[in-house]
Symmetry: C2
Subunit: 295 residues, 2 copies
């Protein structure tokens, strides 16, 4: 890592159909957090648009962007505010070839690196396999002036393999821009279990790898334009935890928030001395992790 | 799985230097839980002895047992009480070759299978690398009349690889006999972080794999016979959670307890329909999980 402590700014907000307005608000949040001292700013998944994957509709490809167009907006924001910036784009790579792509900008406005979402969900209300080709860049942290950022996206957050691979490649922290919420028809017990599971599994990636975790979600209700479902109530609850999974900050489940959180990288070093999990992995017995299933 | 619902009995207790007394109490707990309806009983790690790994002392090999001797005691308990029984032995396999071994008995008293602890810790107060050769049986669930038991032991609980491999081999649940506690010199914040991390990471194995988890720990203070450390305050907190990580039962951190908990295997089926994580693993990108580190 390059520094011992960093200030991370996270932006939890809602989005609507007006891309220009969403961008304007995102840029204002970046500026606000930077002026409060943020060195790293993390936006949530697909932060320029509504969560269009609630239905399969070819018209929604209008939300896609070329990386050049997208970079024009956010590279400038990183440069102007002198922050390392983690963003999320609906990438139009070629006609008929789209990805869910996180772009990381260095504080001088250069592109530090990108990550194409590797695990793609597909379940009622989250029809992402229709829109996104699974990533082809593998699990590679992005080298920045603040350290190596293990950027993963949303559905990746359920996969210990993704977090571990980032850790094995020297990630200094794990970051999850995400868009996840409740089916309003579920009862409150089920909603509680889902939110708790989402927080728990990501904290565990921090624990198992001795790394801090930053998870940034949108909040607020978005209608299903097809009318087939009751829409999604995005549950916010963006959080930052340390390398023992200890919560450093947890946002509301129902309000916008710009939060500034201190991360102490020395804790990773210390915790990995106490709990040296990487030391004892039985790698000679892990080959079946590459199997779909052992029938 | 063979059945839809099972009643699991867990035994959280303290142990002392009197092996015969420890065994007598364990047998009484098994009988008591079975008479209350338990079909599966799970004991904690190394339940016949104090936690002798607090120091490196060749005299402690006296706590080791041949599997034949150990089986005589616990096979009979499984048979007499008609329960599937998960036990934990300090196995003397050959002169100078010892393992930390979980033995699973079928309810007719036959040996259903065994698991030799794969990940071996070694840190102040937990000098297990001195005593135990890492397991050579791999990660293989034990087939029983109640389903396939993914039995892992203690330090394994920090390794998502171990849980995943058990799931990929068709485990119906994950079980962790364990012996973990606090250094009494740590402050209460650190103690809280450690206990919370321990619960969180195991719940997450349940979540990531859609499986129920049973973790059984000892409780109570044990002195360090060498006098080099302040001993260990074993933190109890044995628990059972469901496949979304939802806590079904959590024991005290400072008292003995025999608990009977219902596990509904249909929940696994349902949760895996909602959250089909096994479907989307990017196995073609997981080969580096077999690396020690990617320098």
């Amino acid at each position: 890592m390059k520094t011992k402590n960093i200030k991370v700014g996270i932006v939890q907000r809602s989005f609507n159909d007006d891309i220009e307005l969403n961008r304007k608000r995102n840029l204002a949040s970046i500026e606000s957090l930077a002026s409060d001292g943020a060195q790293l700013v993390v936006l949530s998944e697909l932060h320029d648009s509504p969560y269009f994957c609630q239905c399969e509709d070819v018209d929604n490809f209008r939300y896609a962007t070329s990386l050049d167009e997208f970079m024009d907006v956010y590279a400038e924001a990183a440069h102007d505010n002198k922050v390392v910036l983690v963003t999320s784009a609906f990438e139009r790579r070629a006609p008929g070839l789209y990805h869910n792509t996180a772009l990381v900008f260095e504080s001088d406005g250069s592109l530090a690196g990108k990550y194409r979402k590797m695990h793609i969900p597909d379940d009622p209300g989250f029809y992402e396999k229709f829109y996104f080709t699974p990533g082809d860049l593998g699990f590679e942290p992005v080298e920045t002036s603040l350290g190596r950022l293990g950027v993963l996206v949303c559905w990746d957050q359920w996969y210990p393999e993704a977090a571990r691979l980032m850790a094995l490649r020297g990630a200094d922290m794990l970051l999850y821009p995400t868009a996840i919420g409740w089916n309003p028809d579920d009862d409150s017990d089920e909603k509680k279990r889902q939110l708790d599971a989402w927080i728990t599994v990501q904290r565990a990636h921090g624990i198992a790898n001795g790394l801090p975790v930053v998870a940034v979600n949108r909040y607020g209700f978005e209608e299903d334009p097809s009318g087939h479902t009751s829409g999604i109530d995005f549950w916010g609850s963006s959080f930052v935890c340390g390398p023992q999974g200890e919560i450093l900050h947890l946002c509301s489940d129902s309000a916008p928030e710009e939060a500034l959180v201190d991360i102490d990288f020395q804790r990773t070093e210390n915790v990995r001395h106490w709990w040296p999990f990487l030391r004892d992995r039985r790698i000679e017995h892990y080959s079946d992790l590459q199997c779909r299933f052992k029938d």
